[in-house]
Symmetry: D3
Subunit: 271 residues, 6 copies
């Protein structure tokens, strides 16, 4: 995390903050107040604290709220005290992380709330911002969601293109079962009841029901029972997630959690 943040500091400050360094006196102390300017779920406190700390280890950060808490307009959620030059240099980057992460947590919370009466879990996808995946997946958890795989390395997910190239669901599952480590789960994407059956025969650990209509999905969930984990995927929205959950699927993956990012507005004011 520190390495990503260090690079982001370099990106913003580069050869120096010429405004601050030429206007603000050296070693002038002050206090910055971090304020929400719209409603949402707060996420990113630890990240923003690290931004302040890496820019100046002398800054003292104190959170008034916790990650995962609801904030509304004008809520003060944190303070930062110390050298004003350092506070001003850190301001934009700390906010950029907080606003994006809170945006993701807020959206995740909305999806989770919609299906809170069902057993299904809301999970994310790999449609994350390049190089910020762990930040975004953390925001999803803060919003009450769960994570799908971290990358191509920590689970097998056999998709359409793999099946095509392998010559079928059965062939793909057979091949991977012979080769993949015993500690990795195998998920496969299917589009039909027929596919579900083959996936079960092939011993898949998770079956992704890709863009299935509700009727087929319900049928699939029944077929799967507890022989595998069922996962709904494709075209999930706030409008339809409840009826998807009603089919009984175990997991619902929502790309929009991270590929539509609506930052929550926030600001930092010097007292």
């Amino acid at each position: 995390m520190k390495e990503v943040i260090s690079r982001a500091i370099d990106e913003d400050i580069g050869s120096g903050d010429i405004t601050t360094d030429n206007i603000i006196k050296e070693r002038e102390e002050g206090k910055g107040i971090m304020i929400a300017k719209e409603k949402g779920v707060l996420a990113g406190l630890e990240v923003s604290e690290t931004v302040f700390d890496l820019i100046d280890p002398g800054l003292k950060f104190a959170a008034e709220k916790e990650d995962g808490e609801l904030i509304t307009e004008n809520d003060v959620f944190a303070y930062v005290r110390g050298d004003i030059r350092s506070i001003l240099k850190a301001e934009r980057l700390a906010l950029n992380f907080l606003q994006r992460m809170s945006g993701i947590a807020t959206k995740t919370r909305a999806y989770v709330e919609k299906i809170k009466d069902y057993d299904a879990k809301v999970v994310d996808t790999r449609k994350t911002t390049p190089n910020l995946r762990s930040f975004e997946k953390s925001a999803v958890r803060i919003g009450g969601g769960h994570n799908h795989r971290m990358g191509l390395y920590d689970a097998a997910l056999i998709k359409d293109n793999h099946i095509k190239s392998a010559g079928g669901i059965r062939e793909a599952l057979k091949k991977i079962d012979d080769e993949v480590s015993h500690i990795k789960k195998i998920e496969i994407e299917v589009e039909s009841i027929e596919g579900v059956k083959k996936a079960l025969e092939g011993g898949a650990d998770i079956i992704m029901l890709d863009n299935m209509d509700l009727e087929d999905m319900e049928r699939s969930v029944e077929l799967i029972g507890d022989k595998a984990i069922s996962e709904a995927s494709g075209g999930i929205t706030l409008e339809n997630i409840e009826e998807v959950a009603r089919t009984g699927v175990n997991v619902i993956s929502v790309g929009a959690l991270t590929h539509h990012i609506e930052s929550i507005d926030m600001s930092l004011d010097l007292e």
Copy 2:
């Protein structure tokens, strides 16, 4: 650019793509077709080509459209040929860049279109995704917008917090004029007609009219004339940008270009 992309490849592939490496045969050749699944302005071709190239220099990428072109659902905008394993490993990351950058270009284009009959330029802000600023600012240009400063280093922008700490607009401008390099422009944020007058006296190169109402803004533009560049900022939306442009301001900065990111849906299918 290559370094950012290399890190993103590591983020996604990590210790290996266990699905692809265990299912797809070594050295099997194929062709991936890149297709738009919704309407927008295409951006990120060069970036995605670099993703493919860094994963496997043997892949051949051929664009059918250019950055900045309009694409609509089902438009094929590029092909990539070569080792199927490599294509599948690159797929998600290439799309993640393309979808985000196209989302930004699309939004920028919408703002630019709204004021195409005015002289004002649409510009971005520093509210960009950490470590992806140059990618996002490039997408803004592809969408027809212009860039504000790249970071804290390439121009002075005296904001509210600086003015407070310096003891006023005049004091802040005086201080910076003595210190800052002759090759750097000086911009100052003001909130009132009074502020505009002081900024002009202080010799600011650019005056940012922050959250001003339209009447004050018009008055300010008149006062400024060609003694400085005028910039409207704060709360700009697709709904109000035209009336802002009508005041005659030279530049309109829009945070939403990069802090609300709506990826354009796209896919890569093996032929």
Copy 3:
């Protein structure tokens, strides 16, 4: 992989190979012959080719044998042609990788051979050389073994210390099942039949039978059936692996594959 090898090149060459650069003429071409000096399973050809390529892209490497093939004393397994200075600078590092990886593959092959009439797989552990894990796990696969998890991130393995701290097997499994991603497998280490039963109740995907005697292990394998994967671990040697396999366990993990490294002797001679 390239990054690790580049660093290793820096480690060895540093400010320059003062012997070679002062004795060998510039641009003198030659041919290096890579020869086994003892019996073993060859592993590391791709790595050594990359060493040559990173030191001088003009070098041509041609393998006479393949990774996984048996080599014996005096077998020529590869050639490298080109600038003699470059060949001599690369020699030691290329051999260091090849000798270590071949040592691991050779040892793995010995374990695998011992149980070739059983269904059990030989797998490695996390007792690998710091920063060379992917090289060593690759050598294990070349030798016919399989890989356990790559690190702490790609599967849950609840060990003694975790169980103690959680307050028991049941508690540990419950906790992790609520939290961990649906795509990760859960393995737990148990030492008794009692532990096996609790692990099964808790829904573990893999049950590690740690340092169990053969009788208990057999009993455990029966209890587990196909409700989970059984893994034998602890104190496995070439002498006892066959009787362990005979218990019917699915997987046998062997730390010695990578924590006792006996390099296979090899040399590079200029023709």
Copy 4:
């Protein structure tokens, strides 16, 4: 050193220790006891302390033994106190370093003991694990050995391949003497009495007697006198090192110190 260890931490923890983070409570304190499980010479305390420190600067490490001390089964050689999560994340890596380094120190000590009644020094070679050379050379010193050159840069060592290409021992020595810095020593590898004579004429600082029989070696040592340093090399084992030392050579280099690595078994238990 810190950089190598940081990378090794990334290698093992990657996107997170999913077991520990989901089972162990945040901020739970505890104490880890580091225990030898077999006999050997301890090495790597500073390295392992750095592992703990880099993972969590709050951990307190206290060694009960020193590097170079003999340890036997069940000896407690160190404690680490603090956040249990951090201790468990660091455990394997700290042990991986300690076990390997202690393995090397143990083997070195065995060689050194064999010739303790002679003046000869036991030295290592460049047959070290890529990217861990300084750790392994440090372990050799802890075991009572000395180091040969660190890499290709800090001394000239003219080997068989260089001599061939230069056209003879005399030619090679002449060339290098003209070119190499006056602060670098020049060593040359010879295989016969004839070679020794030419090396002496050429003014070599060190003469490596490569794979010579004992008789020739003795003769060579006499010839060399104190005109150069004599070094025995090739095929040195615990069985033959004493008779090699008896020839009067100044230095005996032993590749096996680092290319056969037998880790010493150790464990970390939570109290």
Copy 5:
């Protein structure tokens, strides 16, 4: 800054300071006295403090003088206390930075003094030592000079080669004005009165009078008035800078500040 210094530490210490580590006892404390051995303007205290701190955070550095102060032979300007090994390892690098930076500050001061009765500013160029630009530009400021642009990114400077390729001064200015961000200044290099006129028409922010004779320069300054900033450039020496300043130019750029580097002699003695 820390990254540059860390690399420089690696460059000098590499695999270890074999003299110090073998002669000086571990944990022996002492005090190093930093002394000027010739006259000059001190610069680089913060950098040298960072060198000591990165090599050993336990060292205490105390400056007796400030950056920008005049020092003469035998002046003690700083002390460093702590582990003697660490002091000796840091000595050369700390001095290398201090001597170079003080050399630059000293030379800058000489130029600035020469024109202290004029309004013109002395500025540097991009003729700096690769990878040390920010250190050298900082030394220029310490010496009383100002900085020109930091690199190719923070202002436009249209030079001879650009004008040639664009087809003229007017064409070049037109092109760049359409494209470049509103926050960047535009400077153009001209060689004649004619050029000055075209530059003014084209709206340049800064006009560089390149290698102009004094008469033309004076004429140009008059023409420019306060419509742009005038900058004299080319062949400026300590001998001619005063007469250049007399023409009334705003800025005088002096390449020699950084491309002729005369280190100020200094030493570090153990008490």
Copy 6:
């Protein structure tokens, strides 16, 4: 070398060359002519070629002169052909390396010429520019000089501070001889005939005669004979080097070679 150059490219180009990219057309081809503007010894061709190559592998560089050749005003020493944008981006950095390295080679040549009738070698010191040591030491060799040690790691040099702390010359030499690798040379700095005698008794390989007057130096050279290498050091100038050489010392080290850097003026013009 590539890494240093890549960082220097980043330093200069940063977020983009806004002048060139906005004025010069994409893919316009041209030819840059590299011209000497003053007399000197050319050095740095390979480095400058690498600058062009890293900025754009499509550029073709052709040298008309060789490193080490004398150049005079108006000599064309190289061409570079290809994309004009790339040539202009590389221009300053390529020249910065060439001008500095040629400055060092020119100065070295002057010293070497002065003593061409003597056997003594001119060598450099560790007073080099941080992070550019290998470039500068290469320029010294191009100018006809030789290199002293590369850093603290490749030879022992016992200086005043070490002797003080060890308690005398004898003690220092004894300590280091016991500990340092047999492949490292040991040099010691002495200031008197007495010191020379102790150094010889202690078995030093090289004896540095620090700031000795000519009479003592001559006496020392006699005493040393061929029992060690003699090195004159301290206060060597173009004026006194010949009389120093006349004393018969083997090596003369000259700090000024690299701590007074007078760049040779050069330019790049588009044809």
